[in-house]
Amino acid sequence: MALKLHGLAFSTCTARAATAIYEKGQQFELVPVNLTAGEHKQPGFLAKNPFGQIPVLEDGDLTLFESRAIATYVAEKYKDSGSDLIRHQNLKEAALVKVWSEVESQTFHPVISAIVYQFLIAPLFGQQTDQAVIDANLEKLKNILDVYESRLKSSKYLAGDFFSLADLNHCPYLFYFMRSPWTSVVNERPHVKAWWEDISSRPSFKKVAEGMTFGQK
C-alpha cells in the first residue's frame, strides 16, 4: 500500500516530508488539501491532524502529522534503503543527528520562518510586511549562521561528515529564504554557502523544489 502525503507541493512542511521520502528511495501519492477552501479546518481533516495543518502522512492505518515526526518515521521505517538519514547503527552519530535536528527545530526554524512569512507569505494575503520583524530576525540569523559556519569548518555536514536528517530539515525554508533580498547572509559565509549548495542539489530535494513555486506566477 502506498504512502499518502496530504499537503501541497509548494508548502515548506510538505516539502520536508516529501524530501525525506525520496531520500529513502520511496514514492508517495500527494493528496492535495484545498487550503483556500478551508479544507484543513474541516472535521474530516481535523480527524487526521487536530491542529489543522499540512502535511499529514497516512501509511496504512497509521496517521501522522508534524513534518519532522513524519521525516523521522520514514527514516526509521526504511532505514535499510536509500541514504542513511539517522545513523541508527552508530549511537554517537545518531545522537549528533538529534542534536543538530533540534538546533534546526528550536533555533533556526523560528527565525527563518519569521523572515519567510514576512517577505513571501504576508504580501500574498494582503498584509503589510513588517520590516522590523525581518530586521530583528536577520540579526538573529546572522548569529546562528556564524555558529553553523564554525561548525561546518570542521564537519562536512551538521551532524558529521555525512548528510543526515539534520541537514535535510533545513532545506525547504532555506530554499524560500534564498529567493529573498538577503541571500548575502548565507553567501557571505563560505562554508554555509557550500553546505547549502550541496544539500540543495541532492536529487531528492531538486525533485521536490520543482513544486516549490509559492509566490511565483
Binding site: P50, F51, L64, E66, E76, A95, V99, E102, S105, Q106
Partner: protein, 215 residues
C-alpha cells in the same frame, strides 16, 4: 568510566527536562552548576560544549551533546533497559510518540515558554515587570493548544500513548512553573488536561528535580 555530567541550573526548564529523564531512568550523573548570572554560559569553556551558549550541556564519556530534547532521546535509547521506559519498542507506537514530542516542541513550548518568561522569569529572576498584554495574547494561544490536548487525553491516557513517555515528560518543566501562576486556570478548567498535569507532576523523578532547586 567518565560517567554522565549535566551542566546547567535546575531552574532552567531545558536542564530540568534532562534531569527529569536521568531520574526516571535511575542513571547516576554529576551535576555541574553553571552560574548564568555571571554569564558563565557565554564563556569559552561552556561554548566548547554548546556553541549556542545555552544550558544544558551534557557529557557521557567522550560524547558531548546539547539541546535538551536530543539529550533526553539519547538517554532514553542508550539506557532503555533501566528505570522507566520512556520510548516504545513498537515502531507504530514510537511514531505516534514522535508526533506528540514534536507537538510539544512546535506548538506547546513556544507559547508556554513565553508565558513562563513573563510570569515567572521576569518578575522572580530578572526583577522586571510582567507585560500583561503579552500574557493575555499567549493565554489565548495556549487555550487553543490545550483544547487539542483535552480531546487527545480523552482518547489516550498520556499524550504519547497508553504509558508515560518522553512526549509527556518534555512538558513537565514549563507546565510546573505555569501551575504556580494565573495560567493554572487554563489547565484546571479542562478535566482531562488537569488530571494529566496532576499525574505527571506527582512523579517521584520530577519531585527530585524540584528538590534540587531548594539548595
Amino acid at each position: 568510566m567518565a560517567g554522565i555530567k549535566v551542566h546547567g541550573t535546575p531552574f532552567s526548564t531545558a536542564a530540568a527536562r534532562v534531569l527529569a529523564t536521568l531520574y526516571e531512568k535511575e542513571v547516576e550523573f554529576e551535576f555541574v552548576p553553571i552560574d548564568m548570572r555571571a554569564g558563565e554560559h557565554k564563556k569559552e569553556s561552556f561554548l566548547a560544549l554548546n556553541p549556542f551558549g545555552q544550558v544544558p550541556a551534557f557529557e557521557d564519556g567522550d560524547l558531548q551533546l546539547f539541546e535538551s530534547r536530543a539529550i533526553t532521546q539519547y538517554i532514553a535509547h542508550e539506557y532503555a533497559p533501566k528505570g522507566t521506559p520512556l520510548i516504545f519498542p513498537d515502531s507504530k507506537k514510537m511514531a505516534i510518540l514522535s508526533v506528540w514530542t514534536e507537538v510539544e516542541a512546535q506548538k506547546y513550548d513556544p507559547v508556554a515558554s513565553k508565558l513562563t518568561f513573563e510570569l515567572v522569569i521576569k518578575p522572580l529572576m530578572l526583577g522586571l515587570a510582567t507585560d500583561f498584554t503579552v500574557v493575555e495574547e499567549f493565554e489565548a494561544k495556549l487555550g487553543t493548544v490545550l483544547d487539542v490536548y483535552e480531546a487527545r487525553l480523552g482518547k489516550s491516557k498520556y499524550l504519547g500513548g497508553d504509558c508515560f513517555s518522553l512526549a509527556d515528560l518534555h512538558h513537565l518543566p514549563t507546565t510546573d512553573y505555569l501551575m504556580g501562576t494565573q495560567v493554572k486556570k487554563l489547565f484546571e478548567c479542562r478535566p482531562n488536561v488537569s488530571a494529566w498535569v496532576a499525574d505527571i507532576t506527582a512523579r517521584p523523578a520530577w519531585k527530585k528535580v524540584v528538590a534540587m532547586r531548594a539548595h
